[in-house]
């Protein structure tokens, strides 16, 4: 019987009372409420109904790969997850209309949870083959199962975390709220306290910072050991002066609900070592980088600072290895792929900025204000350790200036920067998309002209170029020219529907590597046999679609997920869809990061190609579903642009 016939057949028996009655019962619950009649009757009539008396085990890990999808028709089921090391036994309840065990079914494995009837219980049980068929046929059911996968994704993330923790031997989560990490009784004093008394207290209490507060415990300022060094270096004689003269006013603050990750990012970005924890304007604690990183071998803030102040190219180079360890550590502490790529981008930005400063120090200041632009993944803040250079230079140029002359003065600097970045591991761009290329060392006006040409004549090269250049951002130098350039770009694209259509066509060129028979399409021969490209085939469809929709809707942000968020805000993309895209995108990116980690640990060159058969069944299944989300996104683009 073909699939269509099977579903048509199901439609006929739906008139049978008990099938119909059971369908009516299920319709009270998601996802059955939204399913088509023929899909639901297909489900019901392939079920068997089984009774379990209170206390009886329904499904256990020892039963092997799960053979049925269970729906509780009546009664109550208790799930008991065997405690992993150091975890508490985890139990949960499944009541009428709810289902289990999605994770194990999708993962084609045994359940990790013992399910037992906690009272007399009837379960409808759908055989696995029928589940799979329904999953393929019914989008509502599939979306439901995929939402199940999101908790599944959490689980995968936890697994990744455990693996990495085992590698490092430290444990606390970057999601930990500051309330749990901060010193609860911050050392404080009034603003008229003499400096000497304050320093004495700091010394006695063994703390590196003193918070200056008013009567209502509102923070006025902070005084740290670093400030004390400055005081001493300045040769101050009178230590009886009030501390308010030497404190840093309006200290940076976060609420106690902020996460360790927020704090780490703030410290890294602002080059500070202490954060005041403030709730409702009242100081409730203080967090030092020591609190944050006492358990961690690689110190994020320290690393960022070391990069920013590296005295030489060789010093910079020695710090790059620490980024690798930091990524290990980040994954170990439960960072998501977004956090990791964000952090890599941040440290790369620091590295690039430091390289530029060192080059200028060596070659001399050209005396021309220029901005260092980055494109592509760097422009989207989505860099991994496997990255090459995509950059350019924008310089300001008055009507009276000769832009060619300015360019000739800047090019040697740009080329030197490219070379030094190459030494640091930012591979030279094969397509010569680098600031040292005279075509990419342009004045603001020249950039605008260049972009206008790309939009007005949509040659294949220009389309390819747009997928790189239109994800742009500045890393060094004044930002105003870049902002104007972005606005220029948005207004040109918005008015050019033909160009949008070409971008849409372009965005559909990379098809997710899924075959007709629910399996992966992999390279058939050569060195890349049996592998697929996670970046080009997996991430690019999301990136391209997000770029097109963002540019067409006047959205200036460049990161893919920020673009989706902005598109949801403007009602262009449904928020549930966007969630699914985000999860899928994150999963592919996480898989890619783990691949890179493994490769670099084994001393192999980094590559984006993965053999899906090397993944465990659960990861493979989720990866497949993630690719399916990419297909959905492409289908919606095709519809929107009538392709």
């Amino acid at each position: 019987m073909t699939r269509e016939q099977a579903f048509a057949e199901a439609g006929r028996t739906a008139v049978q009372q008990n099938i119909h009655g059971t369908m009516e019962f299920l319709r009270k619950y998601p996802p059955f409420a939204q399913m088509l009649d023929n899909h639901l009757s297909y489900l019901v009539e392939r079920c068997v109904l089984q009774f379990y008396c209170a206390g009886e085990t329904i499904l256990a890990p020892a039963d092997g790969p799960v053979q049925h999808f269970y729906i509780v028709k009546q009664g109550l089921v208790r799930g008991e997850r065997a405690p992993a090391d150091g975890e508490q036994q985890h139990t949960f309840e499944i009541s009428g209309g709810e289902c289990f065990p999605l994770a194990a079914l999708l993962g084609e494995r045994a359940t990790r949870t013992r399910h037992l009837a906690s009272e007399d219980t009837f379960c409808l049980q759908l055989p696995r083959e029928a589940f799979v068929r329904l999953f393929a046929e019914c989008t509502v059911f599939r979306d439901f199962a995929l939402r199940g996968v999101s908790s599944l994704l959490d689980h995968v993330n936890q697994q990744a975390q455990r693996d990495a923790v085992a590698h490092l031997g430290a444990s606390y989560s970057l999601d930990t709220p500051l309330a749990e990490l901060m010193a609860r009784t911050p050392v404080t004093c009034a603003s008229d306290t003499p400096l000497q008394a304050a320093v004495k207290t700091m010394h006695e209490q063994h703390v590196g910072s003193m918070l200056i507060t008013d009567d209502a415990q509102r923070p006025l300022g902070i005084f740290t050991l670093r400030d004390l060094r400055r005081v001493v270096a300045d040769g101050l004689a009178d230590f009886q002066q009030p501390i308010s003269q030497w404190m840093t006013p309006q200290p940076f603050a976060l609420p106690s609900s902020a996460s360790a990750f927020d704090a780490a990012m703030a410290m890294t970005e602002r080059h500070i070592a202490h954060i005041a924890v403030v709730d409702q304007q009242r100081l409730v604690g203080v967090l030092s980088e020591r609190d944050l990183f006492s358990l961690q071998r690689v110190d994020l803030v320290h690393l960022a600072r070391a990069i920013r102040h590296a005295a030489s190219f060789s010093a910079l180079q020695s710090l790059r290895g620490d980024i690798q360890r930091l990524v290990d550590s980040m994954l170990a502490h439960g960072a998501s792929s977004v956090q990791v790529t964000h952090l890599i981008t941040l440290l790369n930005d620091h590295s690039v900025a430091r390289v530029i400063e060192l080059v200028i120090a060596e070659l001399g200041d050209p005396g021309i204000a220029f901005t260092w632009l980055v494109f592509g993944s760097e422009g989207r803040c989505e860099q991994t350790l496997h990255t090459d250079q995509d950059n350019g230079m924008l310089f300001s140029c008055d009507a009276t200036d000769d832009s060619e002359a300015l360019r000739q003065r800047l090019l040697p600097i740009a080329q030197r920067i490219n070379q030094e970045l190459d030494h640091l591991g930012f591979t030279l761009c094969k397509g010569n998309i680098m600031a040292g290329n005279p075509e990419l060392c342009l004045s603001e006006h020249e950039w605008q002209q260049r972009f206008a040409r790309m939009i007005s004549s949509a040659t294949p090269e220009n389309l390819l170029g747009s997928s790189i250049y239109f994800d742009l951002r500045s890393v060094y130098g004044p930002t105003i020219g870049v902002e104007r350039l972005q606005q220029f770009l948005l207004s040109h694209i918005q008015s050019n529907t033909l160009f949008q259509r070409m971008l849409a066509e372009n965005a559909l060129r990379q098809r997710p590597p899924l075959g007709l028979f629910r399996d992966f399409v992999v390279a058939k021969s050569g060195a890349e046999k049996h592998t697929l490209d996670l970046k080009v085939q997996g991430l690019t469809p999301f990136v391209d679609a997000a770029r097109l929709l963002a540019l067409a809707n006047q959205i200036a942000v460049s990161s893919t997920l920020a673009r989706f968020a902005a598109l949801v805000e403007r009602g262009v993309v449904d928020s549930k869809d966007a969630d699914a895209f985000e999860e899928a995108y994150n999963f592919i990116q996480l898989t890619r990061l783990q691949l890179h980690q493994r490769q670099s640990r084994e001393g192999r060159p980094l590559s984006n190609r993965i053999d899906p058969d090397a993944l465990n069944p659960l990861d493979r299944r989720i990866l497949r579903e993630s690719f399916r989300q990419a297909q959905r996104l492409q289908a919606s683009l095709a519809l929107r642009y009538k392709l």
Partner: protein
């Protein structure tokens, strides 16, 4: 309509050769032997009738559910409304809800009954107040197909108090047991839905039987005999 017809139905018309051939193909009845309770094919049935007199009233519809290996197979259901031209509108219409027009549109009784027996196959029947269903079905088969019903019937109304002596269920009707086990009935008093809820009750009872060490049909039958003797002696005591 003559008194004769009223009591015994219309004289049976000669059966077609096709029906006769199908009748000969029916499997023999299953005895209450040593076969495992778990593996036995049970057909849980319910009938809606024109009344409660097995001598006179007629089967209006049959609903049945397949139960085996401790499972109700949802996709294997039997449901038929029998064609009754001269269906008299009597009070039970209000209970079973089969309108005269629906009964008139049903399957010819001989066809429906034969299809049912073919579908039921080599089975043991389960029903709530089984003796009534057994007699109704036997008479219908005799009248319509000239066939002797030899299948074994087990009475769920009897199994329930035997296997759940602790339950306090009032008069012990189907509704009482449904309430006791908090079963959900989709629509009461339709043959199919009553068969379904009876089957759910039977699922519970078979599990209890298993827990009480009853593994075969023969053992179940022995227990039933012993239980009946006990009940009688209690009544006389």
């Amino acid at each position: 309509m003559s008194i004769w017809q009223r009591w015994f139905g219309k004289p049976t018309e000669p059966l077609s050769s096709e029906l006769l051939a199908r009748l000969r193909e029916l499997p023999p009845a299953v005895p209450l032997g040593a076969q495992a309770l778990h593996a036995q094919r049970f057909i849980v049935m319910d009938q809606e009738t024109t009344g409660l007199n097995p001598q006179r009233d007629k089967v209006l519809s049959i609903g049945a559910v397949l139960l085996q290996h401790g499972q109700i197979i949802m996709g294997e259901q039997f449901e038929a409304t029998l064609r009754r031209e001269q269906n008299v509108l009597n009070p039970s219409v209000l209970i079973h809800g089969i309108a005269p027009s629906a009964a008139a549109a049903g399957t010819p009784p001989a066809q429906a009954l034969l299809s049912f027996m073919e579908w039921a196959g080599a089975c043991v029947f389960l029903a709530f107040h089984a003796p009534f269903d057994q007699r109704m079905l036997a008479r219908a088969l005799k009248n319509q197909l000239n066939m002797q019903l030899r299948h074994v019937f087990l009475d769920v109304a009897e199994l329930a108090p035997m296997l759940c002596p602790e339950a306090n269920v009032g008069r012990g009707g189907l509704d009482d047991w449904v309430k006791h086990f908090k079963l959900q009935v989709l629509v009461r008093h339709s043959a199919a839905a009553d068969a379904q809820v009876t089957a759910e009750l039977a699922l519970i009872l078979l599990k209890k039987a298993e827990q009480q060490g009853i593994a075969t049909l023969a053992e179940l039958n022995q227990r039933l005999h012993a239980w009946r003797r006990l009940q009688r002696s209690r009544q006389h005591a």
